[in-house]
Amino acid sequence: MTAESAIEITTFVNGTEQSGYVPARATVAEYLRDDLGLTGTKTSCEMEVCGVCSVLVDGRPVSACAALAADLDGTTVTTVEGLAEEGRLSHLQQAFIEKSAAQCGFCTPGFLIMATALLAANPDPTRHEIAEYLDGNICRCTGYRPIIEAVELAATRMRESA
C-alpha cells in the first residue's frame, strides 16, 4: 500500500455526517475551523498544554491542535458548538453563565469540553478532582474559582435531573 497525501474520511461532527478528503498533515483543529467553519474550537499553545482546542472524539478528550484529521475517520466528534441541544444550553453552559466563569471567553470552549468529559466519567467530583482534571486548561482571567464552582453547580443539577 502506498502512502497517501490526502485521506478520505467520514465522521459525525455534532451529529452531522461529514465526508471528504483531508490532507495527511491537516490537524483536527484545522479541519474543524477551516473546512467545517466550526470556529468555537480555538488554538493557542499548540502543544497540548493550554486546552483551548479540546474536543471530544468518541467521548475521549483530544487536543485538536495535535491530532490528525485523518484519524477522525469513523469517529463521532463533539465540539463546543455541539453541547447545546435544540437551542437549549447544557447544564454546564448555563452554570458557566450564572457563575461568571468566563471573562474574555477564549478558554471557555476548552473548559466546557473538558468539564463535559469529566462529568460523563465522574458525575459527582470533589473540588479537588475538578481542579485536577482541569489542570491542563489555562485561564488567564478568572483565577479558576468561578470555573470550578460552575462545574460543581452543573454536576449537582445534572444529578438532580438524572
Binding site: 502512502a3 490537524t27 499548540e46 495535535a66
Partner: protein
C-alpha cells in the same frame, strides 16, 4: 494554514506490514503527543508517518506468568483503566493518572514516552524502578533490553530507526509496596521519586528512583533498615536548571521529596 510540514500517511493493517515500512524517513505514529509536536517545531521532518492507531495487536494488556505485558499502542488512560494492571501492579495506574493532562493520557502511549526518552517523564522512572524490559521488533528481527539500557540520554534512546517498540514487560512478583511522589508546578514534573520495598534474586531491598530532575533517572538500592538521607543523595544528582528552578533549588526539592517518598513508603507498612 497548516501547522505541520507536509508528509504522507501509511495506514498498515498489521504490525508485520508496519515493520516493512518503518525507517528513518518513515516514522511510526502512536499517540502523536510527542511526534506531532516535534514535527510542528521542525525538529523532525519525516517523509511519511506509519500510523499505528488502528493496530489492535499493539493495544493488548496481558499477564504472561507473573509478567505484565503492555502493548506498544496502549495509552496511559487505557493502562490506568485496566483491571489487570490494577490487580497486579497497583502503583502503575496511580502514576499514569498523573501524566500530563487528560488529553495527553487519552492519546499518549507508554511506549511513546519511552522512545522519546523524555527527561521529565513520570513513566520512565517507575518503569525503571519496576525492572521493566522493552521489546523491539524490526522486519529483520527482535531484541529486548532493560530501561537502563534503552534510555541513553535526554531525547535519546537505543531504538534503531527501523525498529518498533512493540511491548513493555514488567515483572509483578516480589513487590511488597511502592509509592511515587512528584513535585510539579508546570506541565511537567520538577522531580519525581519512586520508592519501593521489593525482593529481587532472593534479596530484600529498598529501592529509590529519582526522575525528571536530571538528564536521566537515577536508581539506588538499599538494604532493609538502611538510613536513607535525601539531602545526601540529592547532593550527587545533577539537576537541569530551567524555568522551573535553578540547580541549587531543584537539588533541595529533590532531597525533600526523597525523604517524603521514603516516609510515605514506611507509612504503607502493615
Amino acid at each position: 494554514m497548516s501547522v505541520l510540514p507536509p508528509f504522507a500517511l501509511h495506514r498498515p493493517q498489521s504490525v508485520d506490514e508496519a515493520l516493512g515500512l518503518i525507517s528513518f524517513d518513515d516514522m511510526p505514529l502512536g499517540g502523536g503527543t510527542e511526534l506531532l509536536l516535534a514535527m510542528r517545531m521542525r525538529v523532525l521532518r519525516p517523509d511519511t508517518l506509519v500510523n499505528l492507531k488502528q493496530l489492535d495487536e499493539l493495544k493488548s494488556i496481558r499477564l504472561d506468568g507473573s509478567d505484565l505485558v503492555i502493548g506498544g499502542g496502549v495509552t496511559h488512560l487505557a493502562a490506568s483503566e485496566s483491571a489487570l494492571v490494577a490487580e497486579h501492579l497497583p502503583i502503575l495506574p496511580k502514576v499514569l493518572l498523573e501524566v500530563g493532562n487528560p488529553r495527553v493520557r487519552a492519546s499518549g502511549t507508554l511506549a511513546g514516552n519511552l522512545v522519546f526518552a523524555e527527561p521529565k517523564s513520570d513513566v520512565i522512572p517507575i518503569l525503571l524502578a519496576l525492572d521493566a524490559r522493552v521489546h523491539l521488533r524490526s522486519a529483520s528481527g527482535s531484541r529486548q533490553m532493560t530501561i537502563d539500557e534503552f534510555i541513553i540520554g535526554p531525547y535519546y534512546c537505543a531504538r534503531e530507526p527501523e525498529e518498533l517498540l512493540t511491548e513493555i514487560r514488567i515483572p509483578t512478583a516480589g513487590i511488597a509496596r511502592a509509592v511515587y511522589l512528584k513535585y510539579q508546578t508546570m506541565e511537567r514534573p520538577t522531580v519525581g521519586v519512586a520508592a519501593l520495598d521489593m525482593e529481587r534474586d532472593g534479596t530484600e531491598r529498598r529501592r529509590v528512583v529519582i526522575g525528571a530532575v536530571a538528564e536521566t533517572p537515577t536508581l539506588l538500592d538499599f538494604a532493609p533498615g538502611d538510613q536513607i538521607d535525601g539531602a545526601a543523595i540529592a547532593a550527587t544528582i545533577e539537576p537541569i536548571p530551567d524555568i522551573a528552578g535553578s540547580a541549587r533549588y531543584k537539588r533541595h526539592v529533590t532531597g525533600v521529596y526523597i525523604d517524603r517518598a521514603v516516609a510515605a513508603l514506611d507509612a504503607e507498612r502493615p
